[in-house]
């Protein structure tokens, strides 16, 4: 790979600061659960139905527990007890609870705590084996095809209609895509439940539902076979339902989830405590089910300047990595994000992009970095946008990135149409092939613009991490140190879903997968 020289001691220092920052958050969150974590437990236990109004049963049950003020002990034991009582499957049991056929207030006293605990264990073991199954199934599928070369070619589909999405995905794979991301309908991340069923009415994206996941998964499996390569499926976890989305994704064998420890806080005004707790559980699930996470540092550069605030991206990557390590994620599932977002009018901007991209590679040599294309400065002159993307494609192959989001000529116009995705992939395919081994050929001058820039960003990162470590991450966020957006620890959406664990809180799935 093209090399730049960085002081290893500085790298170590930055990593140590990150670990400390993450540990402090971890010390806080270990005493809390959330509505969504509890709903995830129900989903893991098999509750996946919705009522006639399309409200998921798991939401209703958690609401009941909250109303009854029982939630602090966790939903697990109540539901296990209820299942013992009904002696039926999970959805049936859930229905009976909702229809007041079973009173959760009383259900614990109806059988021995030992039996309940045993049932919890069985349910949890079953749940975990479902997660394990997903890992196995995916590995088996991958084994059937030749290894996919990096950078993986990643495109989004966003028609709002899952069936049209499949058509678009098929075309994208045909043009060379390795990864298909189904973008969610705008603001789904603010919904405190996961919609259900196949959907056709999203805005700027398609609802993330378990059914939609499975429809797309089948479509991709079909194309995989035709094209003789494994096609990865991506959806979005960050939001009010992070862990639940992770569960559904594991059920439907998704490969990657957008899952950032701070995106929801900053860009969706979701409460930070809620987010920190949710991301942890969701990532534990990803670890177990072999789902790669993709973080969202690229987003910072849509509100901040990419040169001025480059170090905030690096600092966030280090924090995201440290938090991921708390959730046991191995390096190869760590799709840390960064982006090619420097103003195209900046003199030598491309040199800075190379510096940033190589810094990320140097800091996270084993992580499959997710490299985002230019978006903010994309032109509405689609012909010019293609030039920017071509340069981005080159930066990606020249610095050996892991996951390459194909930039779209119409980025500044509309969600991509079928022809535009084809145009975008044509450029990616061409550049990746024509400059295939460029990364092995070039060396950068030690004292050149590029090397100096990488050092400078690393230095600023360490400064920022030191400040954050001193004040604590929550306070850092409330001071607007990321993306220049300020969020208060006790404000934001979903704060009422943060729950203090009681002494007898139980969540056996958590216990198993966090070991």
């Amino acid at each position: 790979m093209a090399q730049i020289f960085l002081n290893q001691k500085k790298i170590n220092k930055a990593k140590a600061l990150g670990a400390n920052i993450a540990q402090n958050i971890h010390d806080y969150i270990k005493d809390y659960t959330t509505d969504s974590v509890e709903r995830s437990v129900l989903r893991l236990y098999g509750v996946d139905d919705a009522d006639d109004e399309k409200t998921p049963l798991c939401n209703k049950i958690v609401d009941i527990l909250k109303k009854e003020k029982l939630i602090n002990s966790g939903v697990s034991k109540y539901f296990a007890a209820a299942m013992l009582k009904t002696d039926s499957h999970a959805n049936k049991t859930a229905e009976m609870i909702i229809n007041n056929k079973i009173d959760l207030k009383k259900v614990l006293s109806m059988q021995s705590l030992e039996k309940i605990s045993e049932k919890e264990q069985t349910l949890a073991q079953d749940a975990v084996s479902v997660l394990d199954r997903s890992k196995k199934v995916k590995n088996a599928k991958k084994a059937g095809f030749p290894l996919c070369e990096k950078p993986y070619r990643y495109v989004i589909v966003a028609t709002g209609n899952i069936y049209e999405d499949c058509t678009q995905a098929e075309s994208a794979v045909y043009s060379g895509a390795d990864i298909i991301a189904v973008i969610r309908s705008t603001a789904q991340s603010l919904l405190d439940y996961i919609p259900s069923g196949a959907t056709t009415t999203g805005f700027g994206g398609t609802y993330a539902t378990q059914k939609n996941f499975s429809i797309m998964r089948s479509a991709l499996d079909k194309i995989s076979k035709q094209q003789k390569r494994y096609i990865r499926l991506v959806n979005y976890a960050s939001g009010l339902c992070m862990p639940e989305i992770a569960v559904c994704s594991a059920f439907e064998d998704l490969d990657i989830l957008l899952n950032d420890s701070m995106y929801g806080i900053l860009f969706r005004d979701i409460n930070m405590k809620r987010t920190f707790i949710d991301q942890h559980f969701s990532r534990l699930i990803c670890t177990r089910a072999d789902i790669m996470i993709n973080t969202g540092e690229d987003n910072y550069l849509t509100t901040s300047d990419a040169v001025e605030k480059a170090h905030s991206v690096t600092a966030s990557q280090i924090i995201n990595e440290a938090m991921a390590k708390q959730a046991l994620l191995p390096d190869d599932l760590l799709g840390l994000g960064h982006a090619f977002e420097i103003d195209p009018e900046m003199e030598n901007g491309f040199l800075y992009e190379l510096a940033h991209a190589m810094l990320a590679k140097k800091l996270f040599p084993n992580a499959p970095l997710k490299y985002m294309p230019p978006t903010k400065h994309k032109s509405r002159d689609i012909f010019f946008s293609i030039c920017m993307d071509t340069m981005f494609n080159l930066a990606s192959i020249a610095t050996n990135q892991g996951i390459h989001l194909a930039g779209m000529p119409t980025e500044a116009v509309h969600t991509p149409s079928m022809s535009e995705r084809h145009q975008a992939l044509n450029s990616v395919n061409y550049v990746f092939n024509t400059a295939k081994n460029l990364c092995d050929e070039i060396e950068f001058k030690k004292d050149g613009i590029i090397s100096k820039r990488a050092k400078q960003v690393l230095d600023s990162t360490i400064d920022l991490l030191e400040k954050i470590n001193k004040s604590g991450l929550m306070s850092a966020i409330s001071q607007g140190w990321f993306a220049q957006i300020k969020r208060e620890p006790d404000k934001g959406k979903g704060f009422d879903g943060v729950i203090k664990k009681s002494e007898n809180y139980s969540n056996p799935v958590f216990d198993i997968i966090s070991k």
């Binding site: 709002g160 075309s171 705008t186 603001a187 603010l190 700027g204 005004d269 903010k376 022809s419």
Partner: protein, 247 residues
């Protein structure tokens, strides 16, 4: 020929050359190529050249074409539909407010509904401004309140009433499946229901918003892609002065 009559220019006056790109939902084949040409002939084009056809899915063909457009339009009859701003600058605007209105004016802005895009409204409101043009917060004669993104119509209205706003600025970026129309319409309906419609100068903005479009929805003006803050301030001041009978 009437010299006001115009059509596209490739490399010779009135050659009518235009470039097109689209996808047809049919299998790539000689017939698909012909269909593309037939289709374009329905669009008032001639000398159609289908220069590139490519299969981009089992039953979809990607097409690049050039053709000559047949019609002329009379340029002298075209009427631009941008909001009339008078094009005042920062200094003139502040001076006018101070001297003619003799009080500070109050502006409230937000990106409404589930639209999380705040950079657009920020560009108009924040100190820093946009494209070397100061944002409204910088104007000494304007009290500007930027509520940010994901603001419900109700929040925006009650806030505007509270601070006695002169103008309410609404940003909408997501337009897929007409998402923006729903949000913008809802705001007007609420204002009408509460009899507040004429209390505020109501302005919409965003990359896909034109003055025409916004006016049709009941707004006083609409501003599109790459609007600069002073155009908006200009419009507001001019409108207020007109109301006051000062112009």
């Amino acid at each position: 020929m009437n010299k006001n009559l115009i059509k596209p220019y490739g490399d010779t006056l009135n050659d009518g050359i235009i470039q097109l790109c689209f996808t047809l939902p049919v299998k790539n084949s000689a017939k698909a190529k012909k269909a593309a040409a037939v289709y374009l002939s329905e669009l008032n084009l001639e000398e159609i050249r289908i220069v590139h056809c490519h299969r981009i899915a089992e039953n979809f063909t990607y097409i690049v074409a050039f053709a000559r457009a047949i019609p002329f339009i009379d340029y002298s009859k075209v009427k631009a539909d941008e909001a009339e701003t008078g094009k005042l600058d920062f200094y003139k605007i502040n001076k006018l407010i101070k001297e003619k209105l003799m009080r500070k004016i109050v502006v409230v802005g937000a990106s409404i509904g589930c639209d999380a895009h705040s950079v657009g409204i920020d560009a108009i409101m924040n100190m820093k401004g946009y494209n070397h043009d100061y944002g409204l917060e910088r104007y000494p004669q304007i009290d500007a309140y930027n509520l940010g993104a994901q603001i419900t119509c109700e929040e925006l209205v009650s806030y505007s009433v509270r601070v006695n706003a002169d103008a309410v600025l609404v940003s909408q970026t997501v337009s897929a499946k007409d998402a923006h129309i729903g949000n913008l319409t809802q705001l007007v309906e609420i204002l009408e229901a509460e009899n507040l419609k004429d209390k505020f100068i109501l302005i919409a903005g965003g990359p896909d918003i034109s003055n025409d479009f916004a006016c049709k929805l009941g707004y006083d003006a609409g501003f599109g892609h790459s609007t600069i803050p002073s155009s908006v301030a200009s419009f507001i001041v001019t409108k207020l002065l007109k109301k006051k009978g000062e112009i």
